[in-house]
Symmetry: C2
Subunit: 190 residues, 2 copies
Amino acid sequence: MARWDPGAEQRLRKAALELYAAHGYDAVTVNQIAEHAGLTRRSYFRYFPDKREVLFAGSERLPAAVIEAIRAVDPAVGPWPTVLQAAAEVGELLAEFAENSDVRRAVIAATPELQERERTKLASVTAAIRDGLEERGVPAEDAALVAQIGAAVFQNAFSRWIDGGMKSSFRSCFDAVVDSLRGGLFELDD
Amino acid sequence: MARWDPGAEQRLRKAALELYAAHGYDAVTVNQIAEHAGLTRRSYFRYFPDKREVLFAGSERLPAAVIEAIRAVDPAVGPWPTVLQAAAEVGELLAEFAENSDVRRAVIAATPELQERERTKLASVTAAIRDGLEERGVPAEDAALVAQIGAAVFQNAFSRWIDGGMKSSFRSCFDAVVDSLRGGLFELDD
């Protein structure tokens, strides 16, 4: 696994993003990405199975990170604050890998196949939240609802954070979304 | 478009569901579905482009129905109650087509390709809610958040309704989910 070049994976991800942003996802080949990163096609396939997964590297670790973060919350804490606490923690972790997130998001938004992959990823995070809550004894229906809303809040916070040029912390964006939930936005005047 | 057989589409949908449930989605062909419905392969393709879309017939009308339902809400009503009102209405509409929803759900849950399609459909509904809110002057970030949470509530209510054998009304399941949101489930004890 290429111990001699620890920066290769990172270079490939950067090269892919640059080429996808410049020429469009469909027009770029694995050969071009590898060349742009100063590597061979064979090296590319040491890290990624295809031209799609280079955009989602690391995301396969998210569900496990979510479950672990939920397990770390005091069992006396209710379902919703548990999700908030775990989501904020996982978000901080994600923020470490968030370089070029704005470019990545634009590339994904332009290609239905990538949007599908992104939704699949989010669904696996939602399922992890649900499983983590069920493990704590939350009834299945409630766990599913809290998980879906938690994932929506997480996604929205991440999006705001990228919109703001990642200048503030992820946590402050997350707190802003939670404040919207508590405050006027969800006021029920019916 | 087969004016001579107004029940054909419905028969094909029923036949597809029965075969998918019995043999698994991957094992069933269009020919088998057509035969099971007493029709020809050629008739099948008058109604559906492939073996997947027979499971999602009618869903292409959902985004427009959502936008329309949002437009019908008094402009003075805030974003969240607007979504609740529109979602309840669209849900009632959906309920009319909900025969065999439990079988359909089981078939989809067993096949990643179908789950992807289902998520894409939900994403288009979420986008319709967001667009409908922006049309009412709701700021983009708020519209996105309310739309995502509205879609989660809708999906959860639909799921509960199917779990309950569709014996109660969709509206009562929807109201139960909204009550969970208002009540203890989302209590913030942090």
